[in-house]
Symmetry: C2
Subunit: 331 residues, 2 copies
């Protein structure tokens, strides 16, 4: 295992320390329990937005804390859900009196712990709503999931719901637009290499040098099937086709296309994938009106990428375009 | 070789195609010869800024084209200088009548080709000045270099000179501030793994599983020495100490600290390195007043990082803070 880390037990805490030092203008790191909030807040009357999950997917979620996106992020150990005792204080800390929406990727541990945390926060007088993100079309049930997994589409949910909260929508309205994004976003990923969880010390799965795993999960969970090492165009088609089919995209529809790196993939390769995904959407008569390319929802140092398509309407487009000022997204 | 590419000969062109599609609001891709300019321009009376070099270091340089930074970027083949016939048209294309500054990383091929291009552009009536970036303290001469190599410090030169050009400084003044950045910026990097040039198909060097290369170049050129796989804190000290010593930083000085990923390193690890580098600077009484952490000057999928320190003064701080709107840097 070759990593720029010290003791594997300290990697999350040390990384968060560095993150909070770099972005002191944007965030505050709370400890005991550990979570990240905006540098100021809560904002009176604004719906609070909280997300979180296992670490190892950086910049998700702490990198999305800031104006126009999350109010707090709750990082667990690597690939391990944060605890209810950790989530609940984050939820109450960002309650400006208008309630809090939690955005939860659909993994059994996360769902359970966020639900328990919601009960704890409700007992403290905070109204909590929850939205589950399950955008991964690869498999129905998986290693850590009943139903589909939540992956890179989470970014779109957090951005668009965050903009709705920022403009003053109430809790029902923010939850509704978040659910609308969930209903219209789909993702599928590919792994070229496995990743290694620091405290485990060995790759999470074996992948021969001449195969890639189509439909990989962001924790290295098995996907749909393995194929030989094909060119990027062929691999991109394996990803884009099920995504577009599942969305039942019609000619003339407008979409956001997100090509996301898994952590160890150079940016130059993501643009190669984007180019092909966009061409394939074009062949279907689908217009890409918004785009994002980069490593946003990662799996440690895994090489690979995912393709996310979000069906847009006028309102979600405007909310996507609204100002955002976080460590990882800014416009 | 596992990469998300098609024919290795097409990777630069296909990646640029994708890049230009994603960032059509910011840039235009010119072909025959290939270079990238801002979407609009040249700006009458503004000094033009051009950089370039071999591909494989993305987002450098095309990701830095836009308001407040470069006017054009000229990408060669992977790890190969662009040609004079390719650079010269980029230089003349961004001449708004106030001349053009080229920012060149100190590699023999780049230096020669940018100089020849300058002569070609001068023959067309464009005044050209050139600044050489040589921030890598690791080695004096190297595989492709007489003198020190230009590495991640190039980002700081492009940002600060870009801001000077944007506010209307003349060519002498922009060149002078660029030279001041070069004089005050130092970098050193480490590789945990090698990278593979697509058209070569095998790793550019061998590195045992239990060793890292201190002082690595951004093309995988040899560094100073290899050490065993130590913790991130110890490795960071191997990088920061020669950088700070070479700058002869005095107590009370203010610096920009850039921790740069080599392409295959997760963001979480870069924050671990940042944390230690900042602490080491603190022990020297040096204050980190500006920070940047991310993968900006990369070596394909190499795992590793570099630490860059730039001694700041009031003017360079203000120019660093000035607005920038490019694909890779925006504030």
């Amino acid at each position: 295992m070759k990593k720029l880390i010290n003791d594997p037990q300290d990697v999350v805490a040390e990384s968060l320390d560095g993150f909070a030092l770099v972005h002191a203008d944007l965030v505050r790191l709370r400890t005991d329990p550990t979570f990240v909030t905006r540098a100021t807040g809560p904002v009176e009357g604004k719906v609070g937005l909280v997300s979180g999950g296992g670490s190892g997917h950086e910049p998700l979620h702490a990198g999305f804390v800031g104006l126009g996106m999350l109010d707090a992020a709750v990082p667990g150990a690597v690939f391990t859900s944060p605890t209810p005792d950790q989530i609940a204080p984050a939820v109450t800390a960002v309650d400006g009196g208008a309630g809090v929406l939690t955005i939860v990727k659909n993994y059994t541990g996360d769902v359970l712990n966020f639900e328990t945390a919601a009960e704890l926060a409700e007992a403290e007088g905070t109204t909590v709503r929850q939205v589950l993100v399950n955008d991964d079309v690869a498999v129905e049930d998986s290693l850590y999931t009943a139903g589909r997994r939540g992956v890179a589409g989470t970014l779109a949910v957090e951005k668009i719901a965050g903009a709705a909260a920022e403009r003053g929508d109430d809790l029902d309205a923010v939850a509704a637009v978040a659910e609308r994004v969930v209903a219209n976003v789909r993702t599928m990923g590919v792994a070229l290499t496995a990743c290694t969880v620091p405290h485990v010390g060995r790759p999470s799965f074996d992948l021969p040098d001449d195969e890639v795993e189509i439909g990989i999960g962001i924790h290295g969970e098995p996907g749909r099937h393995r194929v030989g090492l094909e060119g990027a165009d062929a691999i991109t088609e394996h990803l884009l086709t099920p995504v577009a089919d599942d969305l039942a995209l019609a000619r003339g529809e407008k979409v956001l296309l997100l090509v996301n790196g898994m952590g160890g993939t150079p940016l130059s390769e993501l643009y190669v994938v984007y180019r092909r995904a966009r061409a394939l959407l074009g062949e279907r008569g689908v217009e890409v009106t918004r785009s994002l390319v980069g490593s946003y929802v990662t799996s440690l140092e895994m090489q690979g990428a995912s393709v996310t398509v979000l069906r847009l309407d006028d309102e979600t487009t405007a909310l996507w375009d609204a100002p955002v000022h976080t460590a990882a997204l800014r416009w």
